[in-house]
Symmetry: C2
Subunit: 209 residues, 2 copies
DNA sequence: CATATTCCATAGTGATTACTATGGAAGGTC
DNA sequence: GACCTTCCATAGTAATCACTATGGAATATG
């Protein structure tokens, strides 16, 4: 099976790996369309982004959006997954760091860089697109919260290799708070230099291992 | 003039201070209604909260909401103002702190306590209710961003009394990032003890004055 | 008690929302 | 070239949205 499927969504599918049986070919590039949707959700958030805005940004019509992604919720999930498998994953960042402090710093640095890209919206898609929401979006909000708690758990586990558990929980929580907070500061206009200075300040109190 | 007026909204008005000239009396308590609206905006955010939900929570009908507050945007601004004039204002907190570090700690503590109230939604209304939003809400988002930047500017000015300006900017930014971030952690389920531990961790690297 | 003033309940308005029915278009296959 | 399969454009659907028109209710005043 050459296509990645998650939650009944075809996430990554190479055309040549999927033998076509005839029929009209897609007139749009799925990855490019998903990328456009991701940026709009990143900039405006999930509920404030309408399907009309999505289809306009993606360059397709509503029936094409629904045929390719299922519905707005699954499109959003696909956008989040695409976001999370960007340059480097959290596992890679934490796994490659020599020390827990290095892991924290690398996560903070990646967040600061990601929050202030020149060709991407300010802030972080995971941190900002569903901070609050209606009752109807509660399940989706909880999915994002679960992803964030998972990231924190991985960092805490890494820190616990060098610090006692209580210390590890506070340090991991502090790092997550700064990551979340820098996203909003970036959306409020803070530039990369400022966020990087905040990263250094956040690490200044790191206890010796 | 015994009524406080802001942005053409009557914000605080004592009935006895406003001589009535006849006519049907209000059948709802304006402060209680505003309080209910504030909690709903705090929990769900501005755009994800409908007027139907607001009127249900406030115990009034749409014409009463529009008569008392003007429109949804002005109701939201009134809710934010009510939120900001809660127990203690930022000026009071910063003004009463003996040192800049105390000011930072007191702001962080107030945020941690406010984020985890027993009878209020988790998180912070100012930090979370319009992190992202549609183009139509851009002006309102910018108003909240301006309020947040104003808080940071006051803290930075206080810190600059004891530290050089570059240090003050990074320290104030770090405190704001943690305040913002703790709001989301609280919405994700973090309890008060955890947030208070994060506050201590955040202050661990404070440079000597 | 009639009138004036202010407020409320009901039933809307016009626009927007997520999503879809249907006929046609664009290919592949035999 | 006819048929099959897949996709697209258009024009919707039913529900929801922020907001309001209108007649009645509840007071104060003279």
């Amino acid at each position: 099976m050459s296509a990645l499927v998650k939650d009944n969504i075809v996430i990554a599918m190479k055309p040549s790996a999927h033998p076509r049986r005839g029929g009209r070919p897609l007139s749009f590039d799925r990855d490019a369309a998903l990328d456009a949707a991701m940026r709009l959700f990143w900039q405006q958030g999930y509920e404030a982004t309408s399907v009309a805005e999505l289809t306009q940004a993606m360059g397709i019509t509503p029936p094409s959006l629904y045929a390719a992604f299922g519905d707005k919720r699954r499109l959003f999930r696909a956008a989040v997954d695409r976001y999370l498998t960007g340059a480097r994953t959290v596992e890679q960042i934490i796994g490659e760091a020599p020390t827990a402090r290095d892991a924290a710093r690398d996560l903070l640095m990646a967040a600061a860089l990601g929050d202030t890209g020149e060709s991407t919206p300010p802030g972080c898609l995971l941190a900002s697109s569903l901070v609050t929401g209606s009752a109807e979006a509660a399940a989706l909000r909880e999915e994002l919260a679960e992803i964030r708690r998972g990231i924190e758990a991985r960092l805490r586990a890494r820190i616990a290799q060098e610090q006692d558990p209580g210390e590890a929980e506070a340090l991991a929580g502090h790092v997550m708070a700064v990551i979340q907070g820098m996203s909003t500061l970036a959306k409020d206009g803070a530039d990369r230099a400022k966020l990087l200075a905040i990263v250094e300040t956040a690490l200044a109190g790191w206890p010796p291992g």
